[in-house]
């Protein structure tokens, strides 16, 4: 168990800077998710924490101790790879115990530790097999066994579930969460899957282009995204963006677009004069309303029932808005519809900078 502190971490390859001053603090026993699309630098950052690549500037501290000068094996970390990276010629037992073997732990102690880890992951019956004779899910468990057997300060996961099918992925996600709760070891977890980020993380760092876009707990990231990139990356179906104008007198703000009118009290006191702005509404925040309480007025374009609820695309002015509505939905395409949402569930962004506007 340990804290992790990244201070102004930078990485360049030749003239190409791929990480621009990353600052992250993770509490003891926390679960940090590095979330972002391909090429955002999240795996590079994980490799720097592991010591598999050299940092260009900044500092990495595990439990308050700088580790940038230490080799990967001396950082007391354990890593789980997307490809599992099991040694093909070794049995499962030796794969799991290999880290201990390399550290000179004797055979008896090693078998006991391997057995304990294997029991925890329910792979005791596989110990004599070789990786080639295991299924994807079993390999994943062996890879995790190899990590937990060492009892490290920090677990590093590099997209560990990406090679599994959807059902197994959900199972292993739950398993990882259970293991984290049981072992209490701090975790850094790289993924591009926002569901994994939301379900597992105590802290989420959303990354893009080598910068952290937002670093917060999952609920804050979901409810108060710092910018339009974060807002669009988290949530499925994604957040609706409606472009329009924002006007305020310092006490009341009004957002307007064809078919849209939202008024909200404000505390910042800022004055806006028909500022170009983007209103962000999550599909699940939208409800059917009557004329008087409506915020959006439009015509139903497409209705897609999914079972538990119905995804409805509504044409509002010349923009499309997607709403996730209850499955008992009686209207049909072409009908007019009024929609509303709680003010707390709305986000406003500057249309130029794409940053969140605090009212």
């Amino acid at each position: 168990m340990a804290t992790l502190s990244l201070q102004n971490v930078q990485k360049s390859y030749g003239g190409l800077q791929v990480l621009h001053g990353i600052d992250v603090e993770l509490e003891d026993g926390g679960f940090l998710v590095l979330l972002g699309p391909s090429g955002c630098g999240k795996s590079t950052l994980l490799n720097l924490i592991a010591g598999l690549d050299d940092i260009s500037a900044g500092d990495i501290r595990i439990d308050g101790r700088s580790v940038v000068e230490l080799a990967p094996k001396d950082r007391n970390i354990a890593m789980v790879f997307q490809s599992y990276a099991l040694y093909p010629t070794m049995t499962v037992e030796r794969n799991i115990g290999f880290g201990l073997e390399m550290r000179g732990i004797n055979g008896i102690e090693r078998s006991a530790a391997v057995k304990k880890a294997a029991d925890l992951l329910q792979i005791s019956h596989l110990l004599d097999r070789r990786p080639a004779n295991l299924s994807g899910g079993q390999r994943q468990r062996v890879a995790m066994g190899r990590a937990i057997v060492r009892n490290p300060d920090l677990f590093l996961f590099d997209e560990p579930l990406s090679n599994l099918d959807a059902k197994l992925r959900a199972e292993m996600r739950t398993e990882i969460k259970r293991l984290h709760g049981r072992l209490g070891t701090s975790v850094v977890y790289v993924t591009h899957d926002q569901i994994e980020a939301m379900t597992l993380g105590t802290k989420v760092a959303v990354m893009k282009g080598g910068y952290i876009q937002q670093f917060a707990d999952p609920q804050t990231i979901y409810e108060k995204p710092a910018n339009m990139f974060v807002a669009g990356f988290i949530g499925s179906p994604p957040m609706n963006f409606v472009t329009g104008t924002l006007t305020s007198d310092g006490r009341l703000a009004r957002f307007e677009a064809p078919g849209v009118r939202v008024e909200a009290p404000m505390s910042s006191g800022e004055i806006f004069r028909a500022k170009a702005a983007v209103l962000g509404i999550r599909p699940e925040e939208l409800k059917i309303a009557d004329v008087t309480g409506s915020m959006l007025t439009g015509t139903i374009d497409v209705i897609e029932p999914t079972g538990p609820d119905t995804i409805v695309t509504v044409r509002v002015g010349d923009q499309a808005v997607v709403a996730r509505l209850p499955s008992r939905f009686s209207s049909k395409a072409g009908d007019g519809v009024y929609l509303r949402a709680e003010l707390a569930g709305l986000s406003l962004f500057d249309a130029v900078t794409e940053m969140r506007i605090q009212l």
Binding site: L52, P88, M102, R103
Partner: protein
Amino acid sequence: MDTGSHLPKTGMIGELSETRYWIYLLLLPSLVIILLVIAYPTIYGMAISFREMRLTRPGLNGWVGFKHYLVMIDDPVFWVALKNTVLWVTFAVVLELGLGFIAATALNRNVPGTGIFAVLILVPYFLPNVVAGHMWALLLDPRLGVINDILVRIGILNSYKAWFADPNTALAATIFVEAWHGFPFFALLLLAGLKGIPQDLYKAAAVDGAGPIAEFRLITVPMLKSVIAAAVILRVISLVNSPDLLLILTGGGPGDATQVLSLYAFQTAYKDFNFGYASALSVVMFVILMVFAYAYIRLSKIGRE
């Protein structure tokens, strides 16, 4: 499937291509060529190993059964050639594998500029055996050779040495030339193999605390096993069967110091015009190679993976 009947008629070939006979028809041209240039000569060669067939003594021609094979048992040159073949092939392959591995590992580092080295390293392999042979014959020439000159100047040799004329150095010198000529073959195949090893394995080993030797032994070698096995088999077959380099460098001499089976068979056929005995020698080589390949594949266990 009954889709065929709904398709528009495209003539006889169109209909034929829907049947399984089409496959045989497509295989036919290559089958004919293989039968003509490989199967027939091989079987004919085996057949004449049981016949007397000397162009110098046409009157003796006829079936002689196992005579050539029995003669071979008492033929001292055959046993010398067999021993030399084993030495020549073993040392050449070991050297080539070693040099190839070093070259492949270096090229796999992706250091800027290694692209040029990759091409340069392949140059020896691009040279035909005959050209490489003549080049090294000149380089190692006892009177004009630049290598003798260099070795004398830096004090390793007292005087110029006839490398290919001394029975003590001739075989070693030819092995050296062959290793130079053949190592790019291994470098190329091993480099392809190295590129195919997932980097995550090395990362996992670094985190687990495995040193470079453990990484090499537990990751690199096992992951390259199939490539190494295939390359060694191919190279052994090609070395056992090719007399050209030795023909140019030494012609099997001095005495029989560099005589190998392929060269002995070649000379028996085309110098002595004794095709019956030459065929018997070739059949023995064929059997030895078959046994080698089978044993090697079994021992290296590549069939199981």
